[in-house]
Amino acid sequence: MTAPAQHHAPAPHSYVSPIPVRRAHLGDALASEWTKIRSVRSTLWTLGVMVLLMVAIGLGVAAIAANAGEQGMGDESALGFGFFGMLPASICVITLGVLTIASEYGTGMIRTTLTACPSRARVLTAKAIVFFLLVFTVTTVVAALVGAVQVALVDAADTPTTGEWLRATVGAGGYLAMLGLLSLALGTLIRHSAGAITVMIGVLLLPLVAAMFMFSEALKSVQEWLFTYAIPSQMIALYAARPPFGDDGPSGWEPLLIMTGVAGVALAGAFSLLNSRDV
């Protein structure tokens, strides 16, 4: 029985690890979040399906238009066909955005994450940056490739200007990534994957669907507002030089600015709740 002897004599020294302490910063949190996002299957699934949808629908629509030898394109370029792939792609982005944080609540990983990095601001910032860069890069590259093929296919349409090219690539990528950040913020607030995804799909589609059935004259102004500011309308406006709905609605880069503002406010709310709430 040797155990009791060491029981009563606490070691005189405290343990000192041979591993050196190096100051951790946001860069380390980014590396950590990158490992997380690349090492789960859901990232590959959502982004894979997204690319597939953007390519298949974008090229399909352009091919049909090219065959029909469309004349009524007006002064719009063929890049506008990108919208048809962008709408279903946004559902994939929403899913990935929500899962980026809500899956941590589902698995309990969030407790491990916040024990390892107690700064809620750093965790949320790192998640947002990694997610934004990943989605922005993938969507911008795919949108550029699809756009190039669309322009080549449809001869009838105008040759796109540099501004149109930028909005259809960087603008579309940025818009989807910001929509994803809004989803990430909502996932943080709701902490439940299925719930947050459902709410986001509602936010995406419901205003437009509701507006379609507002036949009453009294609801006219509400209907117009919904038609103008519903997310799908904003996506169309991104491709248009002039406001497509109403004369003072957003067009050009304005939809991206609006979405950035909304996502920013939602992220600020998510941070404030994450910071004060029990995990």
Binding site: S17, I19, E33, T35, S103, T112
Partner: protein, 322 residues
């Protein structure tokens, strides 16, 4: 060194943790004991700054948890084994934690080796058994080679081999001068591992004592005797001033005597003994006595002692005396 000062957590009208103050000292294993629902896990979550205390503070080496930049290098915690993403491999689960604290990547392989998970390092952790999950959780706690380690019910659901492994691991870690804080609802488990004991019930501190003192104060020692000549043995013991109590199965129990003394006495008088042993009342009983009034979830309607149905608590003060 961890210091708790007046730590309190209320959920609405219910007080889960009630003005808890104690210190966890380095170099020893401190057992944190309490019945289910006593507030052990809530206390540990507040120590890690996952839950906000209603009032009171926790300091780790004098600092708040949120002030720690690389907390894994100061404190490692196993809260529950399933706090990982099951879709990620064991290696990647640990890698993302290591990266967030600037711990070199080779340390991931080291801790996986230490807990014996190297062969399954690249496997998804959702396929892991309870024991493997627990080992992965312990690997994550050891990742930063911290001075302080916290384990919440580490032996829950483990097989005897796993329990043995964790026990020895904790002893080895404490012997290196680390602070070990381990919670359990099993007194018998604590008696084997802990040097110091903190007992809580309904969120209140019930005891803060060394294990040796707790055993000294709370366990009754006695000698058990069994003999084919039981009547003669009992008369002999009474004649020498010992009070022998019949304890069923033909055994006698004698308080305040040694086995040597009773064995010699029997031999001098030519009595055959089939059993002569020194016994201790279980610490489990002492623990239940202490927490009886603080047990939150009683099993009503069944009398564990087999006697007449007793009103109120089924174990503890009332039924022990009956």
């Amino acid at each position: 060194m961890i210091e708790l000062e007046g730590l309190t957590k209320r959920y609405g009208a219910k007080t889960a943790v009630d003005h808890l103050s104690f210190q966890v000292r380095p170099g020893v294993i401190t057992g944190f004991l309490g019945p289910n629902g006593a507030g052990k896990s809530t206390t540990m979550r507040m120590m890690l700054d996952l839950d906000n205390p209603t009032s009171g503070t926790v300091r780790i080496d004098g600092k708040h948890y949120r002030e720690l930049q690389e907390p894994l290098k100061y404190i490692g915690a196993l809260l529950d084994a399933k706090a990982m993403n099951g879709g990620r491999s064991a290696y990647n689960n640990l890698l993302c934690l290591a990266q967030s604290n600037r711990i070199p990547e080779r340390r991931v392989s080291e801790v996986l080796d230490l807990v014996g998970l190297t062969p399954v390092a690249r496997k998804k952790s959702k396929g892991f058994s309870l024991g493997m999950g627990q080992r992965l959780g312990i690997a994550s706690a050891l990742l930063g080679d911290p001075e302080i380690l916290m384990f919440d019910e580490p032996v829950n659901g483990l097989d005897p081999e796993g329990i043995h492994w964790i026990r020895n691991l904790m002893k080895a870690l404490a012997a290196e001068g680390r602070t070990i804080f381990v919670s359990s609802h099993l007194m018998s488990e604590m008696a084997l591992t802990a040097d110091h004991l903190i007992v809580i019930g309904q969120g209140k501190l019930l005891a803060d004592t060394s294990m040796a003192d707790f055993i000294q104060e709370n366990s009754r020692s006695y000698v058990r005797l069994r003999s084919p000549q039981q009547e003669r043995l009992r008369d002999l013991l009474h004649a020498h001033g010992f009070i022998a109590v019949e304890a069923g199965n033909g055994t006698l129990e004698v308080d305040g005597a040694t086995t040597e003394k009773l064995g010699e006495l029997a031999a001098e008088n030519g009595l055959v003994l089939h059993e002569l042993s020194s016994q201790r009342a279980s610490l489990e009983e002492a623990f239940m006595q202490m927490t009886a009034s603080a047990v939150e979830y009683h099993a009503h309607g069944t009398d564990v002692h087999g006697g007449a149905p007793a009103p109120g608590p089924q174990w503890g003060t009332t039924s022990q005396g009956a």
